[in-house]
């Protein structure tokens, strides 16, 4: 990313911003949707994130735009989840996260397993598998160390593996 773009401290132009919107809107939406399981809130997260980029365009360097965007989106998701947890309890989040969906195909099974992961494991796994981030970049977004990221992803896969195994056994 960012190839051929101006990496100096010159403020981001509208044209550069529009290109970033085109490049990252889908990824941010996938990430927020995967995290929140709510298309409307995911849209809001994307909107807030992109608006924040525009507001901060004079401070954000082009080479760190992606990390900035995902960090803002992640924090936004956490805030939304905290509010949701306060308002309706974890059950509501579980429900929004797709509880009750049938195990009709492998994708849903995997998604179901991912939804049950603890927050840190889930976000690390989403950034790793959806966006292909390395451990260091995930750490920058989530505030974890590289080792913590790796451990969280390991635990996430281990837990998912157990869930998928159980589901296969039931089926």
């Amino acid at each position: 990313m960012g190839q051929g773009r101006n990496t100096s401290r010159k403020p981001m132009t509208a044209k550069e911003y529009n290109a970033l919107v085109d490049e990252y809107a889908d990824g941010l939406y996938r990430f927020a949707h995967g995290y929140l399981k709510d298309p409307f809130e995911a849209e809001n997260v994307v909107q807030n994130t992109l608006e924040k980029l525009w507001v901060k365009r004079e401070q954000v360097r082009m080479e760190s735009v992606k990390a900035f965007l995902y960090k803002v989106a992640y924090n936004n998701c956490i805030d939304l989840l905290r509010v949701a947890n306060r308002q309706t309890g974890l059950e509501a989040v579980e429900h929004r996260a797709g509880g009750g969906a049938g195990y009709s195909d492998a994708r849903k099974i995997i998604q179901q397993a991912a939804d049950k992961l603890p927050e840190k494991q889930k976000v690390a796994l989403l950034l790793r598998d959806y966006e292909g981030y390395d451990y260091r970049s995930i750490g920058e977004i989530t505030g974890m160390t590289e080792a913590q990221v790796k451990i969280n992803i390991f635990r996430a896969r281990k837990q998912m593996k157990a869930i998928i195994k159980d589901i296969h056994t039931v089926i």
């Binding site: 132009t13 509208a14 911003y17 809107a25 939406y29 598998d129 790796k150 451990i151």
Partner: protein
């Protein structure tokens, strides 16, 4: 991290490292070969591969609504990309607007002076316009009453307000010198007056001045010609009233940093008021040479 070190020889950890692509090619090949020989390990490996989240085919709806338009001003005036220059340009623009507004106001025709309060002072009585309030009229000494000027001394008709500054217009009997920035200052007249003016200016704003000459400034825009010194520590001046035209009528606008100094020529003892003041858009200085009847000016 302790947990990380303890996992190094863990089978699950090795499979995880393989899945994550953290092993070098030789290690990866060796492990894959080993997996093929171990059915349990192979089952574990197949399950682990399923933990990779498939990327959902989600497209953000209508992302174009976030697009920003390019502003031609930035293309036409690239200098304005700098925040400092933008600020300076905005400030300059405001100054220009202020300048034109100020000029428009300054060039407005001067309305005729309302003679009513003026005459009542000269008459030295607490008339309908009540220049003298309460007990102040009674407190005036006989000398003060006697020293009040006669009306003909300060004839308004001989001076056309809003024309040349008085010091450039010697044909008038305006007894003052006014000077300031530009053409500010055209003093119509100034004369001694009774001591207490609290009733004279009902909308007056009392201001404590640094040199202890308490004054009242009329801030009423519809009656903005009066500048009143209510009292002063200089005992030889029982009271002053200034009736000012357009120049010092600026005093009637919101002003700040006003200083009034009573100056006296060391030889002639001729009193002069030095008034410096600031408005929103200007700084000005007015020197008012005071004219007093002989009886008052010599009262030491």
């Amino acid at each position: 991290m302790e947990e990380l070190k303890s996992l190094q020889n863990d089978r699950e950890w090795l499979l995880f490292e393989l899945l994550e692509g953290n092993l070098n090619p030789e290690e990866a090949e060796a492990l894959k070969a080993h997996i093929e020989t171990d059915a349990d390990l192979k089952a574990e490996w197949e399950l682990l591969k399923e933990t990779i989240l498939p990327q959902p085919e989600l497209i953000y709806p209508d992302r174009s609504r976030f697009h920003k338009k390019s502003y031609p001003a930035k293309i036409l005036l690239p200098l304005f990309a700098s925040q400092t220059v933008r600020f300076a340009a905005s400030f300059g623009g405001l100054l220009l607007i202020g300048y034109f507004l100020f000029n428009a106001w300054k060039d407005a025709p001067v309305t005729a002076l309302d003679p009513a309060p003026w005459k009542s002072v000269e008459g030295g009585s607490a008339g309908q316009n009540a220049l003298v309030s309460g007990n102040s009229a009674g407190e005036l000494s006989a000398q003060e009453r006697a020293s009040e000027p006669v009306e003909s001394t300060f004839s308004e008709t001989e001076h056309i307000p809003g024309t040349l500054p008085s010091h450039l217009n010697p044909g008038t009997d305006v007894p003052h010198i006014a000077q300031g920035s530009g053409d500010v200052g055209q003093i119509l007249t100034l004369q001694p007056a009774p001591l207490n003016y609290s009733a004279f200016n009902k909308v007056g704003l009392r201001m404590e001045l640094p040199d202890h000459l308490p004054a009242i400034f009329n801030l009423d825009p519809w009656n903005s010609r009066y500048y009143v010194i209510e009292d002063q520590t200089a005992s030889n001046l029982p009271g002053l009233r200034g009736m000012l035209d357009q120049g010092l009528a600026l005093l009637a606008q919101p002003i700040r940093n006003t200083h009034v100094h009573l100056l006296r020529d060391s030889e002639t003892q001729k009193p002069t008021l030095k008034i410096s003041y600031e408005g929103v858009h200007y700084q000005a200085l007015a020197m008012l040479e005071l004219k007093f009847p002989e009886a008052m000016s010599t009262k030491q």
